[in-house]
Amino acid sequence: MANVPEDLHYSKDHEWVRVEGDQAIIGITDYAQNSLGDVVYVELPKTGDEFAANESFGSVESVKAVSEVFTPVAGAVVNINESLADEPEKVNSDPYGEGWMIRVRMANPGEVDSLLTAAEYEDFTKAESE
């Protein structure tokens, strides 16, 4: 069973969002990393890049495929997880911790309320895998 922490917000594209003040940390879910398989490369944006909600901010390459990753909330990138360049496997081993991808300053912090809760995301993935 995929791990879905209670305190995060989720998108239907399988990203998670952790809110810290007006900033949001974004990564991909345990369910997503499990579906992708071993991640071999993560392409991330540059600090300062701005994204609209649901815009592609990079890609995750696994041994099976390359998938776009999307920002569930609009904002400017304030930090990226540079360690993924050398250790992309962190996305598999610790998707909600060391496998985080970007930190953005949210343009519209209220946006997170429209995302899925942990329970809703769990139902969504169940429906998707059935």
Binding site: Y41, E43, K46, S59, E61, A65, V66, E68
Partner: protein, 434 residues
Amino acid sequence: MLEAIGLKSAEQLFDSIPQQLRLQRPLNTPAALSEIELLDKFEQLGRRNTAAQRTSFLGAGAYSHYIPTIVDHIISRSEFFTAYTPYQPEISQGTLQTIFEFQTLVCQLTGMEVANASMYDGSTALAEAVLMAERITRRFKVIASAAVHPQYLEVVQTYVQHAGIDLELANFDQKTGQAGAALVEAVDDQTAALVVQSPNFFGCVEDLKAVADAAHAKGALLIVAITEAMSLGLLKSPGACGADIVVAEGQSFGVSLSFGGPYVGLFATRDKYARQIPGRLVGEAYDKKGRRGFVLTLATREQHIRREKATSNICTNEGLIALAATVYLEAMGRRGVQEAAQQCLQKAAYAAKRIAGLKGFSLPFTAPFFNEFVVRGPLGSVELLSRLAKEKEIEGGIALSRFMSDRDKDFLVCVTETNTREQIDSLVSALNEL
């Protein structure tokens, strides 16, 4: 066949095309010939190509070098005789091994860390390098030396015109013939890459290290283009000078001139940019039992997998021509290539010295050169070269006025290891007599 598919005539196959758009008559082509007649016709046509019989000093992007007979022998083998990487590549381990060897040789020659399985030719390789620099730096201005081959610049412009990339030119120094200093001057922090050719279109060797340092100081990349790959046998490698991407035309390595193609583009870069490379890439791998094998690798960059997000729309290579280059380089070996390059250099130096000593002739550029140099003659070079061809049976060079309207007395002379001293001496005396 028509009966089997229920039609009366072949014309009916085209019924879906409206009548008014159809030709309504047979094509205006000659009647079919027998094999004997056809061979005779082509022999007659071939004999009309008198230029091919003349002593030639033509270069400017396509070079006459000796091709050892083993090259044609190996590439004609049925196991190899295909234009592309096969669609189920791993089953063709021999093909992948030759591509891996090709990539290894390209890295050794250019001084770079990773090379792809080849591009269509030098000019398209350069265009892809420019697009790659934009992807890496996310900047949209590229400054190229005006002494890059004019046809290469046209190809680059064709590629970038709809990609939002601004291609600017840095002029060459009228005295030295080099554009390096102008590139150093022009680079700014909006620049994605500097593009320099060395030896450049005029044959002049550029100071790559200085251009690389200037580019890197502004966060830009240095793209080095080479039309005469034989120069790599002698000159310090672009990699050792700090280049980020090196592209070259590989025709000099065992590929016949063939009226301009097919040729083979070399493309090499640094390991850290491997995921931004266009085209195919063969990697070395080991199976369960530890046996060495070869696989296509990093294919997720490619169009057949990533569609519009691919690094390029090339997802093939010049398989057969890359094989010819590989066989050439392996037959010649390190010392063979150095020897051929050395002969090019010395024969060109001899020719330049003799021509410069003629009354009315001079060398307008002062920079060191490899096997090509510009000569300024006493009259229009188009007239001079055409008289040389007609009266003396010598193709003496290429008129620069074809590319640059203000250089009507200048022409580009190329000398390779295939030119004998007698040929060079006859060029010199012919120029003297005209």
